[in-house]
Symmetry: D2
């Protein structure tokens, strides 16, 4: 496995040149465009790491499955599904051209910004500070990393420039889908997106999602199996933005990407994978990361189809 990963890193390195760093959050544009790291945690409990696997980066949209998960844990599937739907929207992740008819929960997906922002309001907590602490705490348990923390400069950069997310939140409020102060809600969302992780952290979350919620190392059940199926399903249909269909077609693994350059990929019952390569394609997915997963899937027959 280690050898295979080394070869994949080498083969995929040229693809880091093809994409572009996210520039709409100024701080993200400072990343090393050529970075590429992979971490694989297999079901036998072994961990393989190559390349820039130890470089830290912010979760960005990779946190969306955790927001959905915590909303499910806190409020149950019924309440979550009455607020947001699970259909692919056929639109980019930050689209706001929803027609009035589409602005019902049924058309708002937890894997696009509007849906994730709406779900932030379902997280339990007396204050937004507490809501964030609970989300961070879930992230710590899922990554197995008790030192997880906020990247303050990215957080402040997002807070200063995230007007499109404010527009989406006000739209939700105008339609009665959220009721809180918009600035509180988007602040939680900006903080969630700015949690700093590395490839091992993502691989560990993915490993638990692959093992139906159980941490095989300890035997502890962290979340119920039912919820991992929900998360893996929605990552398959919508996790790679409007490139999800092609990713299912070519790679065939539930995965979630973020504009920070991370991809978290779940091979049900077999392994968890964390990837970092910050140069993105036009849809916001890591170019080299996507390629690495394609090679890995083909070499090891990981497709769920």
């Amino acid at each position: 496995m280690q050898e295979l990963l080394e070869k994949i890193i080498k083969d995929c390195q040229p693809y880091t040149e093809e994409g572009r760093l996210a520039n709409y959050i100024p701080e993200l544009a400072k990343a090393n465009k050529n970075a590429l790291g992979i971490c694989v945690m297999s079901d036998e409990g072994r961990t393989f790491c190559v390349g820039d696997y130890a470089v830290g980066f912010t979760m960005q949209s990779v946190v969306k499955p955790l927001i959905l998960l915590l909303a499910l844990l806190d409020k149950g599937v019924e309440q979550v599904c009455s607020l947001v739907g699970v259909e692919a929207t056929g639109k980019p992740f930050d689209a706001f051209n929803y027609s009035d008819q589409a602005l019902t929960g049924a058309h708002i997906n937890p894997m696009v910004n509007t849906g994730a922002i709406a779900l932030c309001t379902l997280i339990n907590g007396a204050t937004y500070e507490e809501k964030f602490e609970r989300l961070l705490s879930l992230a710590k348990r899922m990554t197995g990393n008790p030192n997880l923390s906020l990247d303050t400069s990215v957080y402040l950069s997002e807070k200063a420039t995230g007007h499109k997310n404010r527009a989406l939140a006000y739209m939700l409020k105008a339609y009665g889908m959220i009721h809180e102060e918009v600035e509180d809600v988007v602040d939680l969302y900006f903080r969630a997106c700015s949690i700093k992780v590395d490839c091992k952290d993502l691989a560990n979350i993915a490993r638990i999602l692959a093992d139906q919620g159980v941490d095989r190392k300890t035997g502890e059940r962290i979340i119920e199996a039912e919820y991992t199926r929900y998360i893996n399903a929605i990552m398959t249909t919508s996790g790679m933005y409007d490139g999800s269909g092609e990713f299912a077609f070519n790679v065939g693994i539930p995965a979630k990407s973020g504009v920070g350059g991370g991809i978290m990929a779940v091979v049900p019952r077999r392994m968890g994978i964390g990837i970092y390569a910050p140069a993105l394609d036009k849809k916001g997915n890591s170019v080299a990361g996507r390629k690495a997963l394609e090679l890995l899937s083909k070499q090891l027959g990981l497709s769920i189809f």
Copy 2:
């Protein structure tokens, strides 16, 4: 298994009352709304049938995976993917409100009418008669049913009323995506939709897609494994129209429905399922069929996630 299926039929029977028969093709409105049949073919080669499994019905959109498959076999994945994309469109199956920007192959999915009609032109054959014979022949091989034939009255009914499909085809022609005579192309499409099958036929196709292209009874490879992964992936992301996300979430099995009331469901490496229940929900999926698959998936742990 037989007992389980009997119980599921009983539990799902009431759901046949909830939907409505497709009425935009007049002939389809003549079906028995309360019909419900299931056929399961397991990987050990056993077949289980319950309810109205022997009733014949037309494939309608269930033929779309076969059109895609034949186009892939005839022209290869590159040419197919240069004509159509594989992203969920976020729209109903017969939508034509494509903006000019969206009218590139990348936004046209083989599981919605526009994409399937476009793919009809990629099927080999000197004449449209021959193209249809080749498609029917593939269907015969996949169903294992040499007697498969056209339901002429449904075909004529579709031909007489299918103006929306003609509109879609002229739109494709206006944008240079197809070049043939529109009436020839839609005639092939109408005939393909009117192939008459029963639950066993669908289960047999699904079984071969589940077994990566090999007919386990004979050991014969019918199609390459790679193509079955493509088909299963796109059925997962787009097979149940704009209800695909919810179906992945709740059921977790690659499947394709048709407005004739059929659903073909593929459990990779485990089984093929054919269902018939013609009362449809608003998105065009069989209500009782969807419910039966949900129960079956939960009882037997069939979710791929």
Copy 3:
């Protein structure tokens, strides 16, 4: 004329029952649904008033032509037209389902909320307080009413509930079309909408727009003729929201309506008309007001076509 107006009031009274009071700004729902008033100022300098012409109401969208006018006076036609376009959008006045391609100035009309909000940033003034004072001052000159003031309770009601306008403003900011603090910009817009007028005030503005910018009573030129043509043209193509086409067809007079129930109508070279009737049709236009203008136009041959 007085008699004719009395008859029209009588004939149109029943139409006040057909519409509904605007309810999305809570304060507006408190109006008297059956109110109906008309004021006509003819080119010979005579004024005719009937019905509830003296009832005060807030301008709401009727202020949009004044915002456009002040932006034109302050920055000139070139700068205004580089920020906003003048095409009908084919959408309701508060639509936000702009596609990315449409979010260029060319698709944002000064008579819909997005365009009017954008134009607020072009009004001269060191502070937003000063910008508002300058707008109010223009309104005073155009109405000839030095006592014009804000309806504070409507203003506060809009400020408390106007989240859709905040969403639109953040969208403009996200696309780099405005750069100011969103809350400042929408506050100016809410105040502008809350200027309290009566039928005579509107008729007086309309009279000056009809007389190509000259106040015939005093002979004073208040604005340049060129600008009145711009305002009258855009009111004709977009002044009655997505009912502008039908209004041109049936009535044929440049006019602007507001959800407060007012309509300001300009008969070039002939007269200015102010109407108040707060029950609205589905598009946000005063039902009885629209009907009264239709009758008036037909009786007096006022159509510009």
Copy 4:
């Protein structure tokens, strides 16, 4: 006047270089790109012609007001308005991205292709041959030109390539808005578009529309005044495609353009204008023609606003 027109021709000649000939109808691409002709018929019955005023060209969309007029004459305003609406669509003339909600008559405008095609079915006539003869006959009366005829090569070129119009017509049929054979309906539309005229012909139609339906030379009433107001109103709001708002803003005259390069402009109560200059802007309007009308309007104060 003659001198003024000569000067305008000279000033506008350079603009013929800026546009492009329509190329989607192959035959239209053969026109002389630099041609520019103007004909003005004033209310005192005088005619002024300059430049390429005698060059023949096909009406294309300039025929749409005549189709609307004949439908109004044949079926009355109520039946026409129950099939099509009069709002600007905010879309290009050949758009088909109507959402299902928008596919009601209220959103289909007689000045865009969909609406004009729908109106073709309202023209009286036992056969489509007869319908066309009646339309041609109206055109002869309005132009005062008994020799008006079809440009057969343009007609055949449109018939061979007009697949987008076929798509629109099948869409109308799928939604039950038309019931005839699509090929018959679009054939009538293609023929209507291919009627060959020159600047004098257009000016004569415009003159009658300007004089409220009366031919001042003969004193004969050709159509009722009410209908000329309808036509002039809808040309103002939608006659220059999605450039109508800007045209009203800058020129202020009811007008209809066609991709053949013609513009027919109506100055109510004052004059009729016909222009020919086949190089088009991106919206399908004659570049030099638009400029010439702007200069003429400003020089002579023709704006209706």
